[in-house]
Subunit: 283 residues, 2 copies
C-alpha cells in the first residue's frame, strides 16, 4: 500500500429513505448513487440500516431478553439512576454497551439487533454493488461504540468487505529508517470515523462514500472486521476493574481463609492445651 494518495473526499449519499425489512440495500444504494460511484470508492454504511433491511427488529419489551441472547459474557456493569448498563462481549466478539442492541432511530416500541453476520452483509453489499456498477468498491458497516478511558463515542467498523482493514506496517521502516515494530493502523475504524463526520446521528443519512483512497480497496476475500476483534485471552482489559477485583477478592478470601484457619488451629490447639494445663494446676 505504497503511493498513498494526497487527498480524499467524503460525502453522504442523498435520497436514502427509511429502510424496511426486506429492502434490497444494493438497489437502494445504487439508485441513490445515480451512477456517481467511482472505481475504488468505499461505502460506509450505518449498521442500523443493514439491521432494518435484514429484519433484525424486536419489540422494545423484549429488549432485556434480546441483550441477554446477544451476550456471550458480561464484561462490566454500571448502575445509574435509569438502571444498569451491561457492557458485554456479544456473539460477534465485540465489546459493547447493551451488546449493540440499539433503541435510537428505530420505530417507536422497537429495538434493533446487530446484523447476524456484518462481514457477510458487507460482502453481499460489496458483491452486489460491484456487479451493478462494474467498479471495485469497498464496504464498511459502521456502528457507534463507546470506549474505555475516553469520553464519548466514535464510529468503528463492525463489518467490512473488499477493504484492507489494517495498514500492516509491522516489519516496515519509518521515514528515519527505524522499524515500525507494532504499528498497525486500523484503517477500517478510521474510515468509519471519517464517514460519521458527515452521516451524523440524526440526519437520516446512513451511507457515506469515501472517494480517493482506491489503494485501500481489494478483493472480497480480504479479512473482514471480525479480524479487528482482539481475542479475549490476549486482552489486558478483558474484564471491568470492579469485576476483576471482586473475582480476585473471592479467590483470595477462600485461599486466605484456609491458610488462616490452619495457622489459627495450630495456635488455638497450643493455647487450648496450655489453658487446660493451667486449669489443672490451679484446681
Amino acid at each position: 500500500m505504497s503511493g498513498v494518495p494526497r487527498a480524499f473526499g467524503v460525502r453522504v449519499l442523498e435520497g436514502i429513505g427509511e429502510i424496511r425489512p426486506g429492502d434490497d440495500l444494493v438497489d437502494v444504494i445504487a439508485t441513490a448513487a445515480r451512477g456517481s460511484l467511482a472505481e475504488g470508492d468505499i461505502l460506509v454504511v450505518t449498521s442500523k440500516v443493514v439491521s432494518k433491511a435484514e429484519g433484525r427488529i424486536v419489540h422494545a419489551s423484549d429488549r432485556e431478553r434480546a441483550i441477554t441472547e446477544e451476550t456471550v459474557r458480561v464484561v462490566a456493569t454500571r448502575s445509574h439512576p435509569d438502571g444498569v448498563t451491561r457492557i458485554v462481549e456479544n456473539r460477534l466478539g465485540m465489546v459493547a454497551a447493551a451488546a449493540g442492541v440499539d433503541a435510537s432511530n428505530t420505530d417507536e416500541g422497537t429495538v434493533l439487533l446487530l446484523p447476524v453476520d456484518p462481514d457477510a452483509s458487507a460482502r453481499a453489499l460489496a458483491a452486489g454493488l460491484r456487479a451493478r456498477t462494474g467498479r471495485a468498491l469497498g464496504v464498511i458497516i459502521s456502528d457507534t461504540l463507546g470506549r474505555p478511558w475516553r469520553e464519548g463515542q466514535t464510529d468503528v467498523a463492525i463489518g467490512a468487505a473488499g477493504v484492507h482493514v489494517f495498514d500492516d506496517l509491522r516489519g516496515t521502516v519509518d521515514a528515519a529508517g527505524k522499524p515500525l515494530a507494532v504499528t498497525m493502523p486500523c484503517l477500517a475504524d478510521e474510515l468509519a470515523a471519517a464517514g460519521d463526520l458527515v452521516k451524523g446521528k440524526a440526519t437520516g443519512c446512513p451511507v457515506a462514500v469515501v472517494s480517493g483512497l482506491p489503494h485501500l480497496v481489494g478483493g472480497l476475500d480480504l479479512p473482514g472486521a471480525r479480524s479487528i476483534v482482539r481475542p479475549r485471552d490476549r486482552d489486558l482489559f478483558r474484564m471491568g476493574t470492579d469485576e476483576a477485583i471482586a473475582l480476585g477478592t473471592a479467590a483470595g478470601r477462600s485461599a486466605g481463609y484456609s491458610a488462616g484457619r490452619a495457622a489459627g488451629f495450630t495456635e488455638g490447639f497450643t493455647a487450648g492445651i496450655g489453658a487446660a494445663e493451667h486449669e489443672r494446676v490451679r484446681s
Copy 2:
C-alpha cells in the same frame, strides 16, 4: 451544530520538511499551505512534529526513565519476548503504552516525549495561524493509540483548539423523535482518524487539512482535548484485568486469613483442651 455539510475533503499539506527544536510551526505550516487555507479548515497535526518543535527530545538511553517520569500510574503491564510494555496513565490523563514516549520517526538514538501541554500547543498554533491567515481555523494535535478489545491503533486527538471536540447530542432527538440519551460523538477523535488516512506513518506528511466542516470550528476558548479524558474514578476499565485480580486477591487473602485464623483458633483451642483432657484421663 445543525445544517451538517454533505461532504468534506482531507488533504496532506505538502512540503513540510524535517522539524527541528525551535522551529516556528505557524510559519512552517502557513508557508507550506501557500494561501490555501480556507475559512473553517481544520488542521490535523501529528504530535510528533509539535514535540520536535518544542524540543521534547531525550536520549534513547533515557527512555525508561522518561517513561517513568511521564507516568502517573501504571494501568497494566504485559511481558513479551522484547521486554515489558507498560500501559500507563500519563500526566495528561491519557492511557497509553509507554506513556506516549515515541521512538519512531525520530533521529537515531533519540525518543520523543509528548508536548508538555498539547491543548496549549494547539491553541498557540490556531491563534498564530488565525492571525497569519485571517481565517477561523481549527487545530487538532493527533497521536496514535492502541485500545482495549480491538487490534491495531487509531489516531486520536490529544490536543485541540478552536474545534468542537464533541457533538453533544444528549438531550436532542433522533430522526424518529426519540431522545439520544447518551450519544456524544467524539468529533476530535474522528477528525484525527480521518487525517491519519492521508498522513500515514511513514510518508513524512505530518499535517492534514480537513476542509468543508466549518460548523465544527469555533472560538479558541472551546474545551480542548483534555476534556476527552475520562476521569479515572468514572472509568470501568481503570486497571488491567490481571492487576485488578491481583489487587483483589491480596485484599481477599488478607481478610480471609484473619477470618480463617479466628475460626481456626477457636476450633484449635477446643481441640487442644479436648486433647489435654484426653491425655490426663489416659495418664
